[in-house]
């Protein structure tokens, strides 16, 4: 990260991401329409289901197929597993150590093993849900365009009820725990962008809305958002055309969908000191914990009413066309678009992950945050900036553990 300071003003804050490019959008060209869910899941081992479901939905749209409610619900259940494991990983293993002044959860385990154990219990509940439906927790094998290879039976899912009930208490305790952390007094005014569903907290689909009146379906995404390639970073940056910086992810999702949370999740949020809108990125750890609680509850609700989709996958015949799909990855909106020829060969692929959408907002926050903390020496400032970046749980979350801060002070 590069910061240029003149006097008490920060003139520039640049986050330089040199994650080596892997060219997914290029290597997808020439592949069969059935392949993007498996291939794109390899973009992120922490949120593979988000990639699988966004990809499958985009291809279904290109082929003119709408899956049944039962199918959508089973996808949502699998997705709950991913939210639980990803949020548990971030809250306990990546973010909480920052607030507690320790280097890692492993270090925390020496003084508070029961706390780390609670985090691992939650993470395991999420992973077990993913493995039961998907075959394995990292890069599940059971998802496909149209649905699933095999739908789990009711009895299979009932085996998860007991561990999930344990996770429910652990999740509620987590919200209480993180609610007691000290948060820097820092807020932002970025436009919040998230999916919204008429009936439930948006996870696997919905319309894209904002607190400034945006309200679009997936086919409107590229018209309204533009991806820029800037010299200092290998991650493309997205802006809202004519409006600029915006923010996606848990804070946006929560603030735009508070009314869609369960009563229990809303009560836990209030008790932990959150209002219906949260604009302090440092409190994202509380919001993630509230979402984790919701995801556990939602998984239990879905299992309670579960009927396997029959057949386990809708028939999807290839045709020439273009289709868009999106969903709420744990770290924000994930958009895919595919253009297919009549045989179903992928001609073009576009993938916009949440990290690229948030990069501008992160840089803006860092600039303002550094400006408020110029009295710190570079080492202390580096640590605080690492924490500020981890607020967004970017795909580079762990990479920020070796942030090099280059401060150019003058005047």
């Amino acid at each position: 990260m590069h910061v240029r300071v003149r006097g008490d003003r920060v003139e520039e804050a640049r986050l330089e991401i040199y994650e080596p490019p892997r060219f997914f959008e290029a290597l997808l060209r020439g592949r069969a329409y059935t392949e993007p869910p498996d291939i794109t899941s390899r973009i992120c081992g922490i949120c593979p289901v988000a990639y699988q479901i966004s990809a499958a939905q985009a291809i279904e749209a290109a082929c003119g197929v709408a899956v049944s409610d039962a199918m959508r619900t089973l996808r949502r259940l699998l997705y709950c597993g991913e939210w639980i494991q990803s949020h548990a990983l971030h809250v306990y293993l990546l973010h909480a150590p920052d607030f507690l002044g320790v280097d890692s959860a492993l270090e925390l385990a020496r003084t508070a093993p029961e706390v780390v154990q609670r985090g691992l219990t939650l993470k395991k509940a999420g992973n077990d849900l993913m493995a039961l439906i998907g075959g394995r927790a990292v890069h599940p094998v059971n998802t496909r365009v149209g649905g699933f290879y095999r739908a789990p039976g009711r009895a299979d899912l009932l085996a998860l009820v007991e561990p999930l009930q344990g996770a429910l208490d652990a999740a509620e305790e987590t919200v209480r725990w993180v609610g007691g952390f000290d948060f820097p007094d820092f807020t932002h005014e970025h436009e919040y962008v998230a999916l919204r569903d008429p009936d439930r907290y948006a996870i696997e689909g919905g319309r894209l809305v904002s607190d400034h009146g945006l309200d679009i379906g997936p086919e409107g995404f590229e018209e309204r958002l533009e991806e820029l390639h800037v010299e200092h970073s290998n991650a493309l940056q997205a802006v809202l055309r004519g409006r600029g910086t915006f923010m996606t992810g848990p804070l946006a999702r929560y603030s735009l969908n508070f009314d869609r949370l369960s009563e229990r999740a809303r009560a836990a949020a209030r008790a932990a000191g959150l209002r219906e809108t949260c604009r302090n990125p440092f409190q994202s750890i509380v919001v993630r914990s509230v979402e984790m609680l919701y995801a556990v509850e939602e998984a239990l609700r879905i299992i309670d009413a579960y009927e396997p989709p029959d057949p386990p996958a809708a028939e999807v015949r290839p045709r020439a066309g273009r289709g868009c799909g999106w969903s709420e990855a744990p770290r924000g909106v994930l958009y895919h678009r595919y253009t297919l020829d009549e045989d179903g060969t992928v001609l073009e692929a576009v993938i916009t992950p949440p990290t690229s959408q948030n990069q501008r907002a992160v840089e803006d926050d860092l600039r303002r945050f550094v400006e408020g903390h110029l009295e710190l020496d570079d080492a202390a400032l580096t640590h605080q900036c690492e924490q500020a970046i981890r607020n967004y749980d970017p795909c580079i979350s762990c990479a920020t553990h070796f942030l090099t801060l280059d401060v150019e002070r003058s005047g």
Partner: protein, 284 residues
């Protein structure tokens, strides 16, 4: 596998009982293999009592310079910086284990090896000139000596624990190079290819996943890479003759997460002598 000897720079230190130092490294990859270590929820805390986690960015800000007793390396080499960094890590590691398809065969990003990376860059980025990248994605063993490999995209948790347990116990890990077919037999899954006519890479794919895909009713897609003495040409002929699978589909099946593994080179089953090694099927 190298036998256990005193760590570099450790005379008296080596004789004292200190926990072995474990380091986890990431190159071009998705983080899923190193996440598998954190997914050992039931074993993780017990494990950290037996080993010192000396470098693991996904789990800790703290890190030591080494030397390390064991380095687990995830990802493939796609930049010059990575090529230099892996040599440095090798120098500081007594035992180096490549984990996952990227580290052992280049991973999905090695599809660039069969295409032109300049074209790839233009398709994805407005300013390809900003990028610093190599024309190929290569496995760790192409750059430094690798002592052990764990296969898979991602690796299997059970195999990872077997590896760590074996290293702690000073024995060789049990990681048989047989095919996925043997795991189906052990699991009691009826052969999908014989019984249902589903194309399956199981006969040529390295075991280790527990034959998950066939158990879920889909053909193996080869994410553990080639088994020992895999006969890919024979399987490709079988697919063609008995399952009516066309050559383009065979090629796509082999060109995935372990595309750059030599044993998964696309065989010339139609006897035309035409090489399917470079252009075909790409960039249409």
């Amino acid at each position: 596998m190298t036998t256990a000897t005193a760590p570099k720079g450790g005379g008296t230190e080596a004789r004292e009982a200190r926990p072995p130092r474990l380091a986890v490294w990431k190159f071009s990859s998705c983080d899923g293999c190193q996440l598998t270590l954190l997914d050992c929820e039931d074993e993780l805390l017990a494990l950290t009592e037996r080993v010192e986690v000396a470098h693991f960015l996904e789990a800790s800000s703290a890190g030591s310079e080494g030397p390390y007793d064991v380095s687990l390396v995830e990802g493939s080499i796609t930049t010059l910086e990575e090529a230099e960094r892996i040599r440095d890590i090798r120098e500081r590691s007594k035992l180096l284990v490549a984990i996952g398809a990227c580290a052992t065969a280049g991973g999905i990003q090695s599809l660039r090896n069969f295409a032109d990376v300049g074209t790839y860059a233009r398709w994805v980025y407005a300013h390809p000139e900003y990028l610093e990248t190599l024309p190929t994605a290569t496995r760790i063993a192409d750059h430094v000596t690798v002592d052990l490999e764990l296969r898979g995209c991602p690796i299997d948790k059970g195999q990872l624990l077997e590896l760590i347990g074996a290293l702690l116990g000073g024995r060789r890990p049990w990681l048989p190079g047989v095919s996925v077919c043997q795991e189906c037999k052990r699991r009691g899954t009826a052969c999908l290819m014989v019984a249902q006519g589903v194309p399956c890479l199981g006969p040529v794919t390295h075991a280790g996943c527990g034959a998950i895909c066939p158990a879920w009713g889909r053909g193996c897609y080869g994410c553990f890479g080639p088994a020992e003495s895999a006969n890919v040409a024979s399987l490709a002929r079988w697919w063609r003759d008995y399952l009516n699978v066309d050559a383009a589909t065979v090629e796509r099946a082999l060109r995935s997460f372990n595309a750059a593994a030599p044993a998964f080179a696309v065989p010339d089953v139609d006897g035309s002598g035409r090489s399917r090694g470079t252009e075909a099927g790409r960039g249409r």
